[in-house]
């Protein structure tokens, strides 16, 4: 089936709040910081926005049931068509997909997309809410914690392809270093592989510095239909393709070495964008990196590396900011921080700035014309992909 979207959609503005361990603002206020900045860069007033998409992960993080509605005013959704986009950790990228459907369908010409997370409210640890992703009857009685799934998946990935932990630690090194150039970053650092492997083992093979932090923060973008984008913006950045897919909720029944859900999502987006050779046609990528190994795992699912070969590509510099395919030039979740939904939308903000040549110290060389952002989540089963380009 050939997908033929009705109308072209562009990103014309982007904004972010600071990402930090504990913000004393409310989630509404964080949302406002990001959303008002996105509107300002787009040169659009809130009154012109016709609909608002809000992405925010489990209610139990902020401790507000129905927090989509609670965040409404900070997201600029008062008295407007408003919807909450939610696929767990995949929500940030799913939010642009949801906004895109609203504009591509012809329903609206100007849509504000906002993502927020305030994980610091949750005590003693947001894992208390995360625990419910384990089956209540046949998994939780075993005393699990969230790290289990990631450490189990990383180990299977390593065992299947003979990958060493040193190869994976390099993701933390690269992303935390890239984040030194990001003004909102929470955990930027100049580290070596040795430093990462010297950090505490939390759940072997995962060390403390291979895990993204708990964060508060918000991000936002403005989407416009083609006519409106051309009128309002000198440099609209086009949404060329979107894709998403969910695999079975029986996570133990999946191939843990390979994220097939990401492949499905990517193939859908590539087809829509008319991309047949992603490794040549994608110039900058923001794969989802809540854990160091996840960036590599996802690059393979995205067909940007061969199966089991992403670590080698990383080691030879292919994914550096000046490499052949820069990945997470923002600093990613490992460096900028991980306010769940906001972190995914942060990746799209980064592509917007990179493709407009406005990323400052983070700018990848060579005037990139097309970028890809990807997120992952729900019960570790969803892949969400969006491809942006300059034309």
């Amino acid at each position: 089936m050939k997908r033929k979207p009705q109308r072209r959609v562009a990103v014309i503005g982007a904004g972010m709040s600071l990402f930090m361990r504990r913000a004393l603002e409310t989630g509404k206020e964080l949302s406002y910081y990001a959303a008002s900045q996105a509107l300002e860069t787009a040169g659009v007033r809130l009154k012109e926005i016709q609909a608002v998409v809000m992405a925010t992960a489990p209610d139990a993080f902020d401790g507000v049931h129905m927090k989509g509605e609670w965040l409404l005013d900070g997201a600029g959704g008062v008295r407007k068509p408003y919807l909450r986009a939610y696929v767990g950790g995949g929500s940030g990228v799913f939010s642009i997909i949801s906004g895109w459907t609203l504009v591509a369908s012809g329903l609206f010409d100007l849509v504000l997309v906002v993502a927020e997370e305030k994980m610091s409210s949750c005590q003693p640890h947001p894992q208390g809410a995360f625990l419910t992703i384990f089956d209540h009857t046949i998994e939780r009685p075993l005393g699990p914690n969230l790290l289990w799934i990631f450490s189990l998946e990383q180990h299977r990935y390593m065992a299947t392809y003979g990958i060493r932990n040193e190869d994976i630690a390099l993701v933390s090194v690269k992303n935390k270093r890239n984040a030194l150039d990001h003004p909102v970053a929470q955990v930027a650092a100049s580290l070596t592989v040795k430093d990462v492997l010297a950090s505490e083992v939390v759940a072997w093979p995962v060390h403390r510095l291979m895990v993204s932090p708990i964060s508060d923060g918000a991000a936002a973008i403005v989407l416009a239909s083609e006519d409106v984008a051309r009128r309002l913006s000198d440099k609209p950045i086009w949404v060329q393709g979107v894709g998403w897919s969910l695999d079975t909720s029986y996570w133990g029944n999946r191939d843990l070495a390979y994220p097939r859900y990401v492949e499905r999502a990517a193939r859908m987006a590539y087809e829509m964008a008319g991309i047949s050779e992603p490794r040549r046609q994608i110039h900058v990528a923001e794969p989802y990196d809540p854990f160091a190994y996840k960036e590599l795992h996802h690059l393979e699912g995205l067909q940007l590396s061969d199966k089991g070969k992403a670590p080698e590509d990383l080691a030879r510099g292919r994914f550096e900011r000046t490499g052949e395919l820069p990945t997470c030039p923002s600093g990613g979740l490992m460096g900028v921080g991980n306010p769940i939904a906001a972190a995914g939308l942060m990746k799209l903000c980064e592509l917007f700035w990179q493709l407009r040549g406005e990323a400052g110290a983070r700018q990848v060389p060579g005037n990139p014309e097309r970028g890809l952002a990807q997120a992952w989540g729900d019960l570790m089963q969803v892949g969400t992909v969006a491809i942006l380009g300059v034309n």
Partner: protein, 150 residues
């Protein structure tokens, strides 16, 4: 703190009954040909009721394992937990489920890794019959089967 009473449902209630009797039950779908455990009432790939219940052996292999030194609320564990995905013999490859590994000595990463590897055969260690309550914890853990080759 929110408290809940969750219904285990058709398939898992029967699975728990099996555990109480010292059996690991699985289900088969004749369309995709998969045999999987934990059981489910319907095949999520073919969207039809499962075709048969099967009794599986209590042996399997380690698909992957981890050595975890912290609790969910980030308290340190001196004796690590060893969660694993176990593929029960007789189920479709890569259709594993979460449980724990036990019966290994030491608590350091090095000593535990010497005793375990992906693909290693394991066997369920059960609670005594009179102590079982029809819970996933009726299997205390899986332990390596020494001297067995696959």
């Amino acid at each position: 703190m929110l408290e809940y009473g969750w219904d285990a449902g058709v398939a898992i209630s029967r699975f728990l009954d099996g555990l109480k009797a010292g059996k690991i039950l699985g289900v088969r779908c004749n369309v995709c040909g998969r045999t999987v455990t934990p059981p489910r009432a319907f095949c999520e790939l073919d969207f039809k009721p499962i075709d048969a219940w099967v009794e599986l052996p209590d042996t399997g292999t380690i698909n992957t394992y981890s050595i975890c030194y912290i609790t969910w609320d980030m308290k340190p564990l001196r004796k690590p937990q060893i969660p694993a995905v176990i593929e029960i013999d007789g189920t479709t490859p890569r259709a594993g489920f979460l449980h724990l590994i036990g019966g290994v000595k030491g608590s350091s990463v090095e000593s535990i890794r010497k005793q375990l590897r992906v693909g290693m055969p394991v066997r369920a260690v059960w609670r005594k019959p009179d102590q079982r309550e029809g819970a996933i914890t009726d299997i205390l853990h899986f332990e390596p089967v020494r001297g067995r080759r696959r």
